[in-house]
Structure formats: C-alpha cells, structure tokens
Amino acid sequence: MTLGLPGIQSTLHPAGPQAQRILDLFDVFLIVTTVVFVIVVVLTVAAVVKGRRRREAIGEDTRGMKLAVGTGAVLTIAALITLLVTSVATGRAVGTFGGGNPDQMEIVVTGHQWWWEVTYPDPQASNTVRTANEIHIPTGQPILLRLATRDVIHSLWIPRLHGKRDLIPGRINKIYIQADAPGVFRAQCAEFCGLQHAHMSLVVIAQTPGDFMQWKIHQQAPANDPATPQQAHGRELFLDLPCINCHAVTGTDAYATLGPDLTHVASRKTLAAGTLINNHGNLAGWVSNAAAIKPGAQMPPIPMNGPELQDLLAYLENLK
C-alpha cells in the first residue's frame, strides 16, 4: 500500500506546475521574512547593548534617529512590495493555468458527508464513469476539476498538486491540476464539514495517458456478473436489502446516487473515503456497521447473518 509513503500529502514535495508555483511563493516569503526577522533581532540586541553604554546620550542624536527610521521605512515598504508583487504574480499564474483549451479533460468532484464522488462526464451518457474517493488523471496535461457539493461546504486540497478550493452548495468552482509524473497523492477535505470531516480524504492517482485510458475503459464497462452461486446469492441480497436505496451498480436494478457507485468497488484502493484499506475484513466491518467505524456515517447497519454477509461480500469483491 502506497498510502503510508512519506511526503504523499506534502506541500513541500510538489508534483505539478501549480503546486510548484505555490512552493516557489512560499520560498520567497520564507527568505524575505527570515531576513527581516534576523535584521530585527540583531538591531534589537544592538540597541539594548548600546543603550546601556550611553544611557545619558539618548534623545540628542536626532539626525541618526531620522536616518534609522527612514531606512527602516524604505526597507519595510520594499519588502512588502516584493511580497505583494510575487504573490499577485503567483496568483495570476495559478489562476490562468490550463484555461482556453476546448478539448479540456473535465472531472466533476462532488463532496458528500463524508466522501467524494468523482464523475468523468461523457457526451454519451452510458460512457460516463462514476467512482468514489479516487481521482485518476493522465500525466502531463492540465485537468479541469469542477467542484460541487451535495450538502455542506467542503474543500478539496491535494497538497502535492494545488492549493485548496472550496466546494460551495449551489455553485460550481473550478481548478486546474496537472501531474508531471505518475504517482499517488493523498488529498483531504480542508473545510470542517461535520462529524467525520477528518476522515474525508481521497487519493489522486496520476497515470501515463495509456494507463489512464485503460483504466477508464475498464471503468466504463458494466459490473461483473456473479461467477459463483455464492456471488449470485450475494447479488440477490444486495438487490433485496435496503442497499439499493443509495447505491448503484450498472447492469442491475440499483441506480441510486446517494451513496458511492459500487460498479467497480473492488478496484478501488480504499473504503470509506480513504479511512480503510479495501480488503475483506475492512469491507465486512464497514458493511456490517459503518457508523461503528465512522460515527455519524450515513450508511445504516443492515441486519444480516454471517453466511449472508459473506455472500454479499463475495459479490462486492467480484465487482472489480
């Protein structure tokens, strides 16, 4: 599992041009403020030491005083202008990056309490891909993310690719991201959105354009049919139980959009918005009682006996 790598969610390890610009701005601020801090500390210490030696001379050297204040004011204004100019320049560069391309690849990211819906719209509706808590992107090109929310304000923050951008009810925000090389980057909701705000993360998986297309074609395919009687019974349970009030699996009667689309749930790396690694045990725990893992999570516990749970899991794990 790559999610434990150091620097997977670090602003200091940019993986694309947007985050690189933000880091450059950070460096400018760090250098300027460090220099200012050192100068202020040195002058303060000098003044204290000097003042002790010539206590009686204070207030007589007005020319020296004017020179000191004048120099200080000029230096302060110069430093502030430097910061302002670099800040505005970075803001413009980040804000205008990627715009104006009519063939822009678009991904819609919708925030929910407490998970991320990720949609790849397609002019042909049946080719639209819906997944959750994972954004797959091809490397080397700007990607437009349209940010929406189904309930409260969330904020998408992929530190290695870009700064934060809020998801506001009733409107669509846009950001452009680009990854220069394949990799896995962790992202996190950065606006307090309720009980499980801290457990609302996602992974961005940058792939070479070839790998990305392969992934997308696989995701466009309908769900796997059950291969064993156990999986077939699991599907019967899935369609019979309240699961289908919220979840969708293409090719079946389940088409609700309140919860994550489960058509290819077994192909995902994590469950519950990056909270759990997607394996048999975690899936069993999550399905049995989600709110025991994330108190407040909106998936209700569904009464099932052990064999029924195993059959359901067998079906879900076949949805690769």
Partner: protein
C-alpha cells in the same frame, strides 16, 4: 370391473374434504384488537388505540434534521413537495387524511396508502422511518418547539395554522 368400481368409490369417499366448523369458539378467538386508529369515529364508547408504537425520537432535534435529509434523499418531495403538497397531500398542517399521530404516520410510510403513496416497509430501515416521522411531524408543528425543523435550502411553505 366390480372391484375397480368399489375401489374408486372408496377413493372418492376418502377424497371428500370439508372445512372444520368450530361451533363453540374459544375465548381467545374473540380477543379484541387494538388498532392504529385512522378515524376518531367509533361505534359505542371510544376505545384506546395502539400505544406500544411510540416514536423513539419524539422531540429529538437530531432526528428532525436526519429526517429532513432522508425526506429529500428518498424523494418524498417528489409528491409532497416541501410540505405544501402537490401530487401528494400537504404535510404542513395538523389535519391528516390518515391520522397525524406518530403511529399513523409510521403506518402510512411502512404500509403505503391508496392512490399513490408507496409502501416503504422492508425497503428502508426502521430507524429511518421514525426519523422521517419526526421530521414530517415537525413540518406540521406537531413536535415540541425544542425540535423545530432546521433551516432548509429549498423554498419552504409556511405552516398554515397553529397546532391544536
């Protein structure tokens, strides 16, 4: 031939079946039912309705907000709109076609009602049914004032009358 006829006659005698008629009913068979009453009109002296079906979330503000979320999730607004009614009857007053007690509303949701109200029994968890009950009762001003409905994004019809 004769034997066969006798055999057939015996078989047809055995095949005779009539329902049992118990002319002396047991006392237990005459038990009185305690229904979820939809009507106040009763023959004779008024008798109680079901009291065991209590709303576990009566007066619970959290349940009201959860109910509000589910109300839009399960598309109750598709017919009842945001309380003002449209295809389905309005929910923002205290006079209800099939009764406005928690037990009545629970039954309406679980069993469905004629002319369009779907039966949600078995499709949604019981806990969510009660949360919906609490929310629609709050819409009608039937919940205690401590559990008023939360602010809604949608245009909200205002309650027409004060609860009795």
């Amino acid at each position: 031939m004769k034997r066969l006829a006798i055999l057939l006659a015996a078989c047809s005698l055995l095949a005779c079946h009539r329902e049992q008629r118990s002319l002396v009913p047991r006392a237990a068979d005459a038990r009185r039912t305690t229904p979820v009453r939809v009507s106040d009109l009763q023959p004779g002296r008024p008798q109680p309705a079901v009291t065991a079906m209590k709303n576990p979330y009566e007066g619970n503000a959290w349940a009201v907000s959860e109910g509000q979320r589910l109300y839009s999730s399960y598309n109750c607004a598709g017919c009842h709109f945001h309380g003002g009614g449209g295809i389905g009857p309005p929910l923002m007053d205290s006079e209800w076609l099939y009764g406005s007690t928690p037990a009545n509303i629970y039954t309406s949701i679980v069993e469905g009602r004629p002319n369009g109200m779907p039966s949600f029994g078995g499709h949604i968890p019981e806990q969510q049914v009660w949360q919906l009950v609490t929310y629609v009762r709050a819409l009608g001003g039937l919940e205690p004032s401590g559990a008023t409905q939360p602010r809604a994004e949608e245009m909200q019809a205002r309650r027409a009358e004060e609860p009795k």
